[in-house]
C-alpha cells in the first residue's frame, strides 16, 4: 500500500570531501534522495562506500562539502532534536559509568520534560526492546545484543521523528542479528517512526526495507533506488525463502558489482 507520503527528509546533491594534511579524498560525489514520513529506507553498499559518512552528514555530525540536508523543511546544520542515531559500536556508545537506566534517561534530561514523564519513557522504551530487569545493571555486564538493545531503547525513548541506524547489527552474531532485525520492524510499525538504516548486508537491506538505496563505492553516488515489493508482514523464515526476495537480492548484488567495475548511472 503506497500512501502519498509527505517528505520527511530530503538529501539534495550531497557532496563530501575529506582533506587533511596529507591527502584529499572524495568520499561522496553526489547523492540525492527523499524519505517520506514513516518510511523504512535501507542504504546498502560495499565497504568504503561512504555509507557512514552519508549517515553522519544526515545526522548533522559532519558538515557536507556541498549540498543540503533538509529535515521537516529545515536545513540541517547541527544534530537536530528530531533525530536519534544508533551507532555500530554499541559497546562504545553506552556510558560505562552509568547504569542502563541512566544511559537511556540521559538524553531526556535536556528535553524539558518532567521527571515522571521521563521515567515513563525510559520504562516503556526498555519494555519495547524486550529488556526486563536490567535497569540497574551496567552495560558491560550485558551481552552484545542486549547492549545494542539498550542503545536502541535510548533512541526510542528520545521520541525522534527520524531514526538513523549505522550498521547497528554488523558486530553481532547471526542469531542475535535476526532477532534485532525483527525488533526494528516491530518498533517501526508501532512507533510509526521514519527509519534510515545503513548496512553492508544485502539480505538485511531487502528484508527490512520498503526501499533500498544502492550505493557505489567511493566517490559515492546512488546506483539505484529499489522498491521492495515484498509483503508488509515479514518473517525471517518465510520472507527470505520467497522467490521475489531472491530476485531483489540478486538485482542489488549485480548493481553493486557494476559499480565496482566503474559503471555509474547516467547523470
Amino acid at each position: 500500500m503506497i500512501r502519498a507520503a509527505s517528505a520527511m527528509l530530503e538529501v539534495k546533491h550531497l557532496r563530501k570531501v575529506y582533506a587533511d594534511s596529507s591527502r584529499t579524498v572524495e568520499a561522496i560525489r553526489d547523492v540525492s534522495f527523499t524519505v517520506g514520513q514513516g518510511e523504512l529506507v535501507c542504504i546498502v553498499g560495499p565497504s568504503g562506500a561512504g555509507k557512514t559518512t552519508l549517515l553522519k552528514c544526515v545526522a548533522g555530525l559532519l558538515a557536507p562539502s556541498s549540498g543540503e540536508i533538509i529535515l521537516e523543511g529545515q536545513t540541517v546544520v547541527e544534530p537536530p532534536p528530531a533525530m536519534a542515531v544508533v551507532f555500530q559500536e554499541y559497546g562504545r556508545s553506552l556510558f560505562p559509568w552509568m547504569t542502563v537506566h541512566d544511559n537511556v534517561a540521559l538524553p531526556l534530561k535536556h528535553k524539558k520534560i518532567d521527571a515522571g514523564r521521563r521515567e515513563e519513557l525510559v520504562r516503556d522504551a526498555l519494555a519495547a526492546v524486550d529488556l526486563k530487569g536490567v535497569e540497574n545493571a551496567y552495560p558491560w555486564q550485558l551481552s552484545g545484543g542486549m547492549q545494542q538493545r539498550v542503545a536502541i531503547a535510548r533512541a526510542v525513548a528520545y521520541e525522534p521523528h527520524v531514526l538513523l541506524m549505522d550498521e547497528p547489527f554488523a558486530a553481532v552474531d547471526a542469531q542475535t542479528r535476526a532477532d534485532l532485525e525483527d525488533l526494528i520492524r516491530v518498533l517501526w510499525a508501532r512507533l510509526r517512526v521514519t527509519v534510515l538504516f545503513v548496512t553492508h548486508d544485502i539480505d538485511e537491506s531487502v528484508y527490512l526495507g520498503q526501499r533500498v538505496l544502492v550505493m557505489s563505492h567511493a566517490p559515492t553516488v546512488i546506483m539505484e533506488d529499489v522498491a521492495i515489493d515484498l509483503p508488509g508482514e515479514r518473517t525471517q523464515l518465510e520472507t527470505r525463502s520467497m522467490a521475489r526476495f531472491g530476485e531483489l537480492r540478486k538485482h542489488i548484488y549485480s548493481k553493486i558489482q557494476l559499480a565496482k567495475q566503474g559503471w555509474r548511472p547516467p547523470a
Binding site: 594534511s21 584529499t24 566517490p219
Partner: protein, 273 residues
C-alpha cells in the same frame, strides 16, 4: 577522480604550525616573565625580569663553578640511575619468576614503596654528611622502586604458553630468562627507566638543596641565601632544561626500543607508575 594534493608539503606545514605554536607559547611565557616584574606586579627583587635572568645565566656559564656543579649533579644522577636500574632488574626478575617469592614479598614492597625518600635525609646526613653518598642513598631509594614495579609488571605479563614451551624444550633458567622473560619485560623496563630517570634527577637536585652536597641544587640554595636572585633563577632554569632533556631523551629511548619490539601492552598510557 580528483588527484590527492601534494602530501609531503602539506604534512610538513602542519608540523611547522605545531612547532610555531609551541614556540609562541614559550615566547609568551618569557614575555610574561619580562613584563610582570617591570610593571611592578611582582617586586623585581623577588622576580627579576627575564632579560636580567638571561644575563645572569650567561655570566654563570662563563664560570668554572657552573660546569662543575652541573657535572656533579649529572654524576650523582647517572650513578644513582644505573645502580637502581641494575638492582631493579635483577631483584625484579628474581622475585617475579617465582609465584611464592612474589606473594611473600608483595606486602613488604607495598609497605616500603610509599615511604618518602626524603625521610632518609637525616639518616643520610648523619652517615655521610655532604658527600655524594648521601645523595646516592636518596636517588637510589626513590628510583629503585620505579624500576622494580615496572619489571614486576613485565615478568607477570609473560605469556604462560611461551613459558611452557620453553620449559618443554628443556631450556634452563638462564635461557628462559633470556628468550622468554626478557623480551616481554623490556617495554615495561623502558617505562621504568623513563620514570626512574625523572625521579633520580629530581631527588639528586633535591638532596643537593637539602643536604648541601655539590651540584646545581647547592648553587640554587647558595645564590638564594647570598641574595643573587637573578643567578638563582638562572640555575633554576638550567635545572628545568636538564629535566626537559632527560625526560625527552628517556621518552625517545622508550619509543625507539618499543618501535622494533612488538609491544604486548594495551596502552602505555595505562602503565601505572
Amino acid at each position: 577522480m580528483s588527484a590527492p594534493t601534494t602530501s609531503v608539503r602539506a604534512r610538513t606545514s602542519a608540523r611547522t604550525i605545531v612547532w610555531l605554536q609551541g614556540l609562541a607559547g614559550l615566547a609568551g611565557f618569557a614575555a610574561l616573565l619580562e613584563i610582570v616584574p617591570r610593571i611592578g606586579l611582582v617586586s623585581p627583587l623577588y622576580l627579576p625580569p627575564f632579560s636580567t635572568i638571561m644575563v645572569a645565566l650567561y655570566k654563570e656559564m662563563m664560570t668554572a663553578e657552573f660546569w662543575t656543579a652541573l657535572g656533579d649533579t649529572l654524576e650523582a644522577w647517572a650513578i644513582g640511575l644505573v645502580i637502581s636500574v641494575i638492582a631493579g632488574v635483577v631483584i625484579g626478575i628474581v622475585i617475579g619468576s617465582s609465584q611464592v617469592v612474589r606473594t611473600l614479598t608483595h606486602s613488604t614492597i607495598e609497605f616500603l614503596r610509599p615511604i618518602p625518600s626524603v625521610a632518609l635525609i637525616p639518616l643520610a646526613v648523619l652517615l655521610f654528611g655532604s658527600q655524594i653518598q648521601s645523595t646516592l642513598i636518596l636517588v637510589v631509594y626513590a628510583s629503585f622502586w620505579q624500576v622494580l614495579i615496572q619489571v614486576l609488571y613485565g615478568v607477570q605479563d609473560v605469556d604462560p604458553v611461551a613459558r611452557e614451551t620453553a620449559r618443554s624444550y628443556g631450556l634452563g633458567t638462564w635461557a628462559q630468562i633470556r628468550y622468554v622473560t626478557w623480551p616481554t619485560t623490556l617495554p615495561y623496563l623502558m617505562t621504568g627507566v623513563r620514570l626512574a630517570a625523572a625521579v633520580a634527577l629530581i631527588l639528586a637536585i633535591t638532596s643537593e638543596v637539602a643536604i648541601d652536597t655539590q651540584g646545581l641544587g647547592k648553587e640554587i640554595s647558595d645564590t638564594e641565601s647570598g641574595g643573587a636572585v637573578a643567578a638563582m633563577y638562572a640555575y633554576l632554569i638550567v635545572a628545568g632544561i636538564i629535566g626537559v632533556i632527560v625526560n625527552l631523551g628517556a621518552r625517545t629511548l622508550e619509543r625507539r626500543v618499543l618501535a622494533w619490539h612488538p609491544s604486548m601492552r594495551l596502552d602505555s598510557v595505562e602503565a601505572r607508575a
